[in-house]
């Protein structure tokens, strides 16, 4: 919706003028279209490798200027990435997606384990915190297309922990951990980052 500079009300008759009201509608719509919806992308470079082997580099095979930054996970046994993130405001529910792409056409199964720890001031940064998830695992088939971007959401083990929506997001500080491994998938995993989105 296009934005126009708001008209000046010359008299109260303008209040009943549909042109004025619709101009107001269009301007509110234009501003509404650019409001944030709480989605936050944490790119790969904000994570640190805390175990296993992975290299921060650029990936893509179509030419230098089409490459994008990612961690290249070179070890099938897995690499663990951690980051520390401060939430800004607490919408009631969030989703987490991991963004990755395969480096080969293999269609085997890969696996991601996710863990989120909600912390508050005074908690030990490397402790269990107020909330943690253990192996919230997602196993999935690689798409068979090199460099095809995948958004994957872990399945939270509600039998062991409450869903992250119900507990972890009461906390401002999050320690986020992802562990990609591969089961029958035989290729490198390119890890681009994590997307946090309001439901």
């Amino acid at each position: 919706m296009a934005w126009t500079s708001p008209s000046t009300f010359a008299d109260l008759g303008d209040v009943r003028d549909p042109a004025f009201l619709n101009e107001m509608r269009d301007n509110l719509a234009a501003l509404g279209a650019v409001r944030g919806d709480g989605q936050i992308f944490i790119p790969a470079w904000k994570f640190q490798v805390v175990s296993g082997t992975a290299t921060l580099a650029v990936v893509g095979s179509a030419g230098a200027q089409t490459r994008a930054p990612a961690y290249i996970c070179t070890d099938g046994a897995g690499a663990e990435f951690n980051t520390f993130h401060r939430m800004r405001g607490q919408p009631p529910n969030y989703n987490f997606d991991i963004l990755w792409a395969p480096s080969s056409t293999n269609t085997g199964t890969a696996r991601f384990d996710a863990a989120i720890f909600g912390l508050q001031l005074g908690d030990e940064i490397d402790g269990a915190g107020q909330f943690s998830t253990d192996t919230n695992t997602l196993s999935f088939a690689a798409p068979g297309v090199v460099d095809a971007l995948q958004f994957r959401r872990p399945t939270w083990d509600t039998a062991v922990n409450p869903t992250p929506d119900s507990a972890v997001f009461a906390y401002d500080w999050l320690r986020i951990s992802w562990v990609p491994t591969w089961l029958t998938y035989t290729g490198l995993v390119h890890f681009f980052g994590v997307l946090i989105g309001a439901e």
């Binding site: 301007n27 501003l31 989605q39 936050i40 992308f41 200027q65 681009f192």
Partner: protein, 197 residues
Amino acid sequence: MAFTTPRTWVAGEPVTESMLNEQVRDNLLALAAAAAPGGVLSFMIPASEFQAVAGTPTFGPVGSTALSRIPAWAVDPASDEAVSALYYMPFDPAGVTMEASIIWAPATTNTGNCDWELQVADVAAGEQIDQAADETDSHLQAAGGVVDALQQTTPVALNRTGRLWRVVAYRDANDAVNDTFTGDAYFIGVLISVVLA
């Protein structure tokens, strides 16, 4: 334009045109000023979010005074060098015109032109991360002759529909006809702004 706390209207209250101008016109202008270029809906993707994708640019603090230095990529005049970042738009950009420019500074007093190119691709789930750029813009800009002087390339309009953008900034140094600036160029980041008008 200052933002006035929205008024609570009560039954029987006489409404004047000046009240409407304050409550409607001026508040809309204030919100728009916050969103438009220079406002809160301008996004800087700093150099630290980029990785080298072509040539051998070097990342580190630049500037002549130690404690005044800032992080940047130094791209040299000898050969093509490029850097790449992934950026996620904080709102759905479909139907919203954005504009983007490169923020940089020259490392020498040479006044030749730097040949910058900005390439943007939006990549959706299932699409290949290395797909061709959706938008490419080239700009020649004179270095200006003042070492470390902040420069901004002419903003170029972007009309993208996806939220995850691959942003590549590229110095076309191999084009000796156009890239006549003989020093390193410090790439400081890419500025993206909402265009409301």
